[in-house]
């Protein structure tokens, strides 16, 4: 196939990828968008086969390895429970990162296959692009592995910090730049391996100080990195499909991290340089005087809801942990039968990744037009009779609006306290991720329901 024709077809597949993302602007067009993405991928792979034009025994092996990887991927995709989506995405990011590293290594060992020169005399620009692709890929890989281990619970979600951490990271980053410069002047393969090693190390060090509830930012950030790594390799291979895709994914991840940071009213650097937990713990211990709390059981909750005319449900990560989404929908069905209006309010950072709660509710057959974002629904709390908070905590804390001393001051929160009554399903009074007490627990109109989210929801349904 001529080089011009394949370049045009790569461009077509890049455009199809843009349309795939464009489709996600509404759930109706999203499935079609996904189809565009698949077509784009098929085109890109086919064109590559045709332009390499080498249908020797190696070609058979390529198909075999493709089939092996494909079946593993398909198997995972069908088996994974929706609650494990954050882990899955983190795991997949690590694969993209590692694939980028492998492609860069291969190009370094055998540059002639990619038209980049000969070993020991690789074109300067290609070498720089290769080094960037490999370094960013390696950071994506080790960072995503840590994120995966933290989300999976294999590694503690608590931030791991040590003295001189930032200095150490900064020095390593400078080292990467120096190594790249030396690599370009000497073309030494040892330097290339050291560069990759240091990049693995820094990816690991960047993610360990970040705590569990900041995971939405981390996952989005790694999403962005995997895109930049792909773009770096795209420049090396002079491939437009890769460059376009890399840029799309890179900016997509960056926007998502920005949205997540805004949802917590924290700067990107504040999140990256280590959690709330590490720096603000002192404020947590101060207001520990015992305040009265009203607690109730499923019976009381059912009574309150039965007499309400509108109920707003506020789900959070606790709902995902307790796998309570199906029980919740059953409760809502019962409420609807009694002509009670029900809607769902989702905070941008609820859960462990962007849109986590929406997927879980969709899984439980909740129609998406009953689910609202913070800005859409926040004014409705004042007119609602009951707010049902299930597994959320910090995102409902009114302190964010009233107390400038609080570490979460200024963070957008759901105005749950404006409801006539608040039902708060929680296992204990322990503070949330930010390490601060939730004023909502002690409000006149709050009824605490101390139980496992799933069990409590089922009990309420029985009592309705």
């Amino acid at each position: 196939m001529s080089a011009n024709l394949s370049a045009i077809l790569y461009l077509v597949s890049g455009v199809l990828f843009i349309l795939a993302l464009r489709g996600l602007s509404s759930p109706e067009t999203s499935r079609q968008g996904n189809l565009f993405g698949i077509i784009g991928m098929v085109i890109a792979v086919t064109v590559t086969f045709l332009s390499v034009g080498n249908f020797s025994s190696g070609f058979i092996y390529v198909l075999i390895f493709l089939a092996i990887g494909g079946s593993i991927g398909a198997f995972i995709a069908y088996r994974i429970p929706m609650t494990a989506m954050p882990e899955l995405v983190a795991g997949f990011h690590s694969l993209v990162g590692l694939a980028a590293v492998f492609v860069a290594i291969s190009a370094f060992i055998n540059p002639a296959a990619f038209n980049l020169g000969i070993p020991g005399n690789i074109k300067l620009a290609s070498l720089i692009e290769m080094a960037i692709g490999a370094a960013v890929g390696a950071i994506t890989f080790s960072g995503s592995v840590i994120a995966f281990l933290k989300l999976q619970g294999i590694m503690s979600g608590a931030p791991i910090t040590f003295k001189g951490q930032h200095l150490c990271n900064a020095l390593l980053l400078i080292l990467i730049v120096i190594l790249t410069i030396y690599l370009c002047s000497t073309q030494s393969s040892n330097l290339f391996w050291i560069l990759i090693g240091v990049s693995f190390l820094i990816g690991f060090l960047i993610i360990i100080p970040i705590g569990g509830a900041d995971m939405p930012v981390v996952i989005s950030m790694l999403n962005s990195y995997s895109g930049w790594a792909a773009a770096g390799i795209g420049f090396t291979l002079e491939n437009t499909a890769l460059i376009i895709t890399g840029a799309l994914v890179g900016s997509s991840g960056a926007i998502l991290s920005y949205i997540m940071c805004k949802g917590m009213n924290r700067s990107f650097f504040n999140v990256i340089l280590g959690g709330f937990g590490a720096t603000e713990q002192t404020t947590a211990g101060q207001s520990k005087e015992k305040r009265p709390v009203k607690s109730g059981n499923a019976d009381d909750a059912a009574f309150l809801m039965k007499n309400a005319s509108s109920v707003i449900i506020v789900p959070g990560y606790g709902m995902a942990v307790a796998q309570a989404q199906h029980a919740l929908r059953e409760m809502v069905d019962t409420l609807k039968k009694n002509d009670i209006k029900v809607s769902y309010a989702i905070h941008p950072v609820a859960g462990r990744m962007p849109g986590h709660m929406n997927v879980l509710l969709a899984e439980a057959n909740v129609p998406y037009d009953e689910v609202f974002e913070l800005e859409e629904i926040n004014n409705d709390f004042a007119n609602a009779d009951v707010a049902f908070v299930i597994g959320a905590n910090d995102v409902t804390n009114p302190v964010a609006k009233t107390d400038p001393q609080s570490p979460i001051y200024g963070m957008p929160v759901l105005d749950v306290e404006k409801c006539k009554s608040v039902l708060f399903v929680k296992r204990s009074l322990s503070p949330g991720y930010a390490g601060i007490d939730n004023d909502l627990f002690y409000k006149e109109n709050t009824l605490m329901l101390f139980a496992d989210a799933k069990k409590m929801t089922e009990d309420i349904t029985k009592n309705l």
Partner: protein
């Protein structure tokens, strides 16, 4: 003087960042999780590089030191492509509207 082809690629790159910026802002927040899984799937187009690397071995030698990395990258990227698109499909199939008859 002729323009270096690198400049063309850089232009494509910069413009794609802008396209990505506007397209992603128009994605509805409730679809942010599928957005992540689909971006993950499409970034596996890196498989293009993996295939070139895997087929770089000279005649008769399928597995050379450089093509092995290519084959490994093919497995990783294939897991991602199939896994990413299928899991996105599965998620998107769950997003349903309220039934009209209610």
């Amino acid at each position: 003087m002729e323009i270096d082809p690198f400049i063309f690629r850089l232009s494509i790159f910069i413009l794609s960042i802008f396209v990505g910026y506007y397209v992603v802002w128009s994605v509805t927040p409730s679809l942010h999780t599928p957005l992540m899984s689909v971006t993950n799937a499409i970034s596996s187009v890196i498989i293009v590089g993996a295939i070139i690397a895997a087929l770089s071995g000279s005649d008769g030698v399928v597995f050379s030191s450089s093509s092995i990395y290519g084959f490994l990258a093919i497995i990783l990227a294939a897991v991602n492509i199939f896994g990413g698109f299928l899991v996105t499909q599965r998620m998107l199939a769950m997003y349903k509207k309220k039934k009209k008859d209610k």
